[in-house]
Symmetry: C2
Subunit: 351 residues, 2 copies
DNA sequence: TCAATATACTGAAACGTTACAGGTTGCCAG
DNA sequence: CTGGCAACCTGTAACGTTTCAGTATATTGA
């Protein structure tokens, strides 16, 4: 009967946004009951439950995130940790789209946590864990012995990695099978008669550097081809550095007649370097490249490509983190996607 | 003297993360005093202030975002609203980097709010405003009469737009001067003797569509060149659509001898279409294109380019939103960046 | 009939912060 | 010696939510 005094939020429904108190006033129930009714708690009568949910829908009730977060510690936030100067351009947009697509169906927000050249990659991770700013984290540029993964595991922060680790610790990941990619690439080049192959590798230090190198080496010995060293550059180098280096190598006596490239932008540089040296793609040398959007064929139809789907990676990683948060076993949230076949140019249908 | 009972957070300093209560216990002050000391309130003694801040730094105190948000309504969040299927790839990564770079120095987090094909562009905006999920918003794909801008203005949500509106309403924006871009592009083509020009425009509906068209038309009449209609496609069309359409146009009797393209990926398609028709870039036709990263010259050295810096746009937009939140006049936070000159290929120094 | 029990609901407390409305103390003017 | 004031500090309440420990009522079993 002192409801009037207590529920000063009654009139609130007109001015501010509705809260549990507003709903309690409108339904004549207590806020506890309303709170439980909204989450289908069993001790609330079926009719009451329906009634509360109906009113909530009608007036467009949305739980206040700060309230929930303060009370429960749950943030409803997933953080995507990105290196702001080394990530591949298309990687960023596609992975964000993939993650967004999954989070859109949930109450989760996506926050982007950047770190740059100058910073310790651990810094954003520590920040997230210490401040509890996210319920889950997605990281890329994964290393075999990755201190970020170890730290999050130790501190009970659910996460997923783009790329695998190799520390004997189990956690969700999504990875493209770069071992298979490199093997298929070499096989394809070999099948075209190419015998002296160079690899533009991922940056040393990342896990898939090793996968790529091993696949390359394994296939070389399988097909009996040889390697022309090209390890002074990686896809983390600038376009100009790769271009210059390629031109140098191509001017040598013992030059490669085939390239395997781990990134599309780098492939542009390789081709430019080849042509700087006065040689011709498809005649003097062939190139197999990974790409994440279907543009390389426009650049040079002679290029051979393998597609890596970053958007899929994003949605997969998001689902994994949510799964872990939801209590699934981290070991069940690991996915290695097999490379599609090496593709040659197929001209557009209508011409 | 019932401090022991009251400050149950005293021992907390050992287990959880420190709060104001922890600091209050350690300094022997009240939490109110600590709170004010940390924000340099004038009614706190200078010595006390220093002492509190020292202790806070020592134990790594970080204000709890949920607490602040619940109490004050401030979220310390900026939301970047993105269309998940139409945005230009490099736009997304660069603008995120630009925004991040600015927010990194502040307590603000960046959240990415996506919307897709199927959705009303207003939906994410309404969500953000209604739930108060952000203190400021950045939007792109701005329209002359943009309901999102109008809505946010009406509801007092600070925001900045990438691109201008044209509704007589004043708000922060960052825009690339596409009028000048189109004029310079046409002038350049004219100076090379090109007289029949086609424009691959931005999607109709966006503000810079008009700017681009006007610049194109103005320069055409200035130099006395004529337009070959090419308005059945825009940069929002697929690569294949643009390519096919270009090839069609280039096979006609009265074909263009010059193109102006508003996006780099689309330019790849145009060039492919030109070559599909058996014509040669630089001989039969020239193309001026915008690009946001320096890759087009690798594609075809004959391409003429103008650079648009999306990272700059991002940092600029972030600064504008923060400025508005901080009380600056929205009218003072508008920036139109002039296009750089049209650039032809300059070969790498060392070859 | 009475006690035990299940059902449906409730108020109070707490999460960490800030705003509000004081409360002490010391000093000075009168 | 008193009243007033400035300087400095403090407790309480509130933001919206969930959890805990209930309470009231109806239902059941003996």
């Amino acid at each position: 009967m002192d409801r009037q005094r207590t529920d000063k939020n009654g009139e609130n429904s007109a001015q501010g946004r509705p809260t549990l108190k507003t709903l309690a006033f409108m339904t004549g129930l207590g806020v506890t009951t309303v709170s439980r009714a909204l989450k289908d708690a069993p001790e609330i009568g079926a009719e009451t439950r329906r009634r509360v949910q109906l009113v909530a829908k009608q007036i467009g009730y949305r739980p206040n995130r700060a309230g929930v977060r303060l009370r429960t510690g749950r943030t409803n936030v997933i953080s995507l940790v990105l290196n702001t100067d080394r990530e591949i351009m298309s990687f960023v947009s596609d992975i964000i789209y993939g993650v967004s697509e999954v989070l859109a169906e949930t109450p989760y927000h996506l926050i982007v946590t950047p770190y740059s050249r100058s910073q310790d990659p651990m810094e954003p991770i520590r920040y997230l864990v210490e401040t509890g700013s996210a319920d889950g984290v997605i990281i890329s540029r994964t290393q075999p012995n990755d201190p970020r993964a170890r730290y999050m595991l130790e501190h009970g922060m659910p996460f997923a990695t783009h790329g695998r680790t190799d520390m004997g610790l189990v956690h969700p990941y999504h990875d493209f099978d770069n071992h298979v990619f490199a093997m298929e690439a070499v096989r394809r080049l070999a099948s075209m008669g190419r015998r002296k192959l160079a690899l533009l590798s991922p940056p040393p230090g990342l896990t898939y550097y090793g996968h790529t190198l091993n696949g390359f080496a394994d296939a070389l010995s399988e097909v009996g081809a040889s390697e022309i060293p090209f390890n002074t550059v990686s896809i983390d180098h600038t376009i100009e550095q790769i271009r210059t280096r390629t031109a140098q190598v191509m001017r040598r006596e013992n030059r490669p007649d085939g390239f395997v490239s781990s990134a599309a932008a780098a492939t542009l540089a390789i081709v430019a370097g080849i042509e700087d040296a006065g040689l011709k793609l498809g005649r003097d040398v062939d190139v197999v490249s990974k790409q994440s959007s279907d543009l390389l064929h426009l650049f040079r139809p002679e290029l051979l490509v393998v597609n890596e789907n970053f958007r899929l990676a994003g949605s997969d990683l998001a689902r994994s983190v949510l799964g872990w948060i939801g209590g699934a076993a981290p070991g069940s949230l690991q996915r290695l996607v097999a490379t599609s076949e090496v593709q040659a140019f197929s001209p557009p249908v209508s011409v």
